[in-house]
């Protein structure tokens, strides 16, 4: 399979031009920034609390916005045009994810600055963000492919937002041990573990188990995306 960066770039440029006139996406992207600014104002000092805006940025920009962008391509029948062009599956998926990825990184950076979160061990933190980005973009793409419209992606995306974005926040109130165990293995919880450990001055070896879980999530979600994309993007029947 060939891979053309020119074709990926063409899809990215198109999405960038489109974003500038898309008020729904621009408003949604601002939500984590408002949340981070609010946390910054109240002076959240614990590592977990301070990292919430980063998690929220991953869920909203990585998954929610990605889902809306993919769903809109389906709703407006433009995905078919891409599929019938010389661009292959990987080029379309990377191209469609590129803008969401850039936006997520920008929003995470903004959230860190606004919330006053101190980033511990930048290289390890960056790797954890990269893995988180792959997972949430893949989840967003899957949600978009399973939805017929942007509205539908918002509706089916809501439980995902709650589970992946807020489960860590409500974990302390849950008494069911199985549920707590499940939440422990969610990417958001793994990311929190990593950031707390790093904040306590520990290094990569202390978080390697969490990194391995994230890596598994990333691989599984990537392959699930490819599979669902091939099944849902055309009329094959």
């Amino acid at each position: 399979m060939t891979f053309s960066t020119k074709r990926v770039n063409a899809i990215f440029i198109k999405d960038w031009k489109d974003l500038q006139r898309n008020s729904y996406i621009l408003f949604t992207a601002a939500i984590p920034l408002f949340f981070a600014a609010w946390l910054g104002r109240i002076g959240a000092d614990s590592a977990i609390l301070a990292s919430y805006p980063v998690n929220l940025a991953l869920v909203i920009a990585g998954a929610f916005i990605q889902a809306a962008m993919v769903a809109e391509e389906k709703e407006k029948n433009t995905l078919r045009g891409l599929l019938l062009s010389p661009a292959n599956t990987l080029e379309i998926l990377v191209g469609k994810s590129a803008l969401s990825a850039v936006m997520t990184i920008v929003i995470i950076t903004g959230s860190i600055l606004l919330s006053g979160y101190h980033v511990p061990s930048l290289p390890v933190f960056a790797v954890s963000i990269l893995l988180g980005l792959i997972i949430y973009l893949a989840i967003g793409t899957i949600l978009g492919l399973l939805s017929r419209t942007v509205m539908e992606s918002s509706i089916i995306g809501m439980p995902v937002l709650v589970v992946f974005g807020m489960a860590s926040m409500v974990k302390t109130t849950i008494e069911n041990e199985v549920l707590v165990k499940v939440i422990d293995y969610l990417p958001s919880e793994q990311l929190n573990h990593i950031w707390v450990r790093l904040g306590e001055g520990e290094g990569l070896s202390a978080v390697s188990g969490n990194m391995a879980v994230l890596l598994l999530w990333a691989a599984a979600s990537f392959f699930a995306t490819m599979l669902i994309y091939r099944k849902n993007s055309m009329d094959y029947s």
Partner: protein, 281 residues
């Protein structure tokens, strides 16, 4: 001349309906072939199969001498152009930006964008946002996108369905020029006049079957009892048969100086279709 498309015993079934029942046809290189039929006759299903969007249930389908299941490749996509009724455009982008995306995907020069915009009569509107265009203008943008990379084989599903007569004529001229340059055209239409103007051969598709496939002239020539109308002085019209008696009537009207005009009442493709299937298009 070599075949660009070869279809043998093609069957396509959906859960509770057979859309195509043993369809057979070939399309030669450089030919313009038209598939005529009412909604639900299977026209769009054929295009979807030929463009690798749908798998056939059974039968053999070859395009450019390759089985269709091998054709979901960038190289094949570069050789074909597609316009369907649900070809979407990016509504928040300008006409030019919509084409620029596809120009980059197909790796064509930027100057080609202006060429195709001129061909569809939209060069002066290229900066307009697609959302604000009329349905006919959107149709022309979609057509421009389909021919942007000068495809060897062009699939058109109802290409002028939303256009006014002036733009329809403009598009027809553009398609004829493209065909003269060597592009093979496969089109579906409800418009018999369009088929007459553009197609070398037409196929009547009804209930998933090809009922007739021939040149428009041959299809009309199959019709017996074609009459002739003589318009005579004094606002009189006389209809005569194509036989000895008719010939005498024509001769007499010329001799007496009564004849103004003479018309052959050949059936239109629409008439033939209705007679054949009992249905209108």
């Amino acid at each position: 001349m070599e075949n660009v498309i070869e279809v043998k015993h093609l069957v396509k079934s959906f859960e509770n309906k057979t859309a195509l029942k043993r369809v057979d046809f070939n399309v030669k290189k450089g030919e313009t072939i038209g598939f005529l039929g009412p909604s639900g006759s299977g026209k769009t299903t054929i295009i979807k199969i030929l463009t690798a969007q749908l798998h056939p249930t059974s039968g053999e389908v070859k395009v450019f001498n390759e089985p269709i299941h091998k054709l979901k490749t960038p190289a094949y996509m570069k050789k074909i152009g597609i316009l369907t009724d649900n070809s979407g455009l990016y509504e928040r982008l300008s006409i030019y930006d919509n084409l620029a995306l596809y120009g980059d995907l197909y790796e064509v020069k930027k100057s080609r964008i202006n060429e195709v915009l001129e061909a569809v009569n939209l060069l002066d509107e290229k900066k307009q946002i697609v959302q604000k265009l009329s349905k006919g203008m959107k149709q022309r943008v979609t057509l421009a996108r389909a021919i942007l990379h000068k495809p060897d084989l062009l699939f058109l599903d109802e290409p002028t369905s939303a256009l006014d007569p002036v733009n329809t004529k403009y598009i027809h001229e553009g398609l004829k020029k493209l065909n003269e340059e060597g592009t093979t055209i496969f089109l579906t239409t409800h418009d018999m006049q369009e088929a007459e103007v553009l197609c070398d051969r037409v196929a009547f598709l009804h209930d998933g079957e090809i009922r007739l496939l021939d040149t428009p002239q041959s299809l009309r020539a199959r019709e017996k009892n074609i009459s002739i109308s003589l318009v005579l002085k004094g606002d009189r019209t006389v209809v005569v048969k194509k036989d000895e008696e008719g010939a005498k009537a024509i001769y007499d009207s010329i001799q007496t100086g009564q004849l103004l005009t003479i018309h052959s009442n050949e059936p239109t493709l629409g008439d033939i279709f209705v007679r054949l299937t009992g249905r209108n298009l």
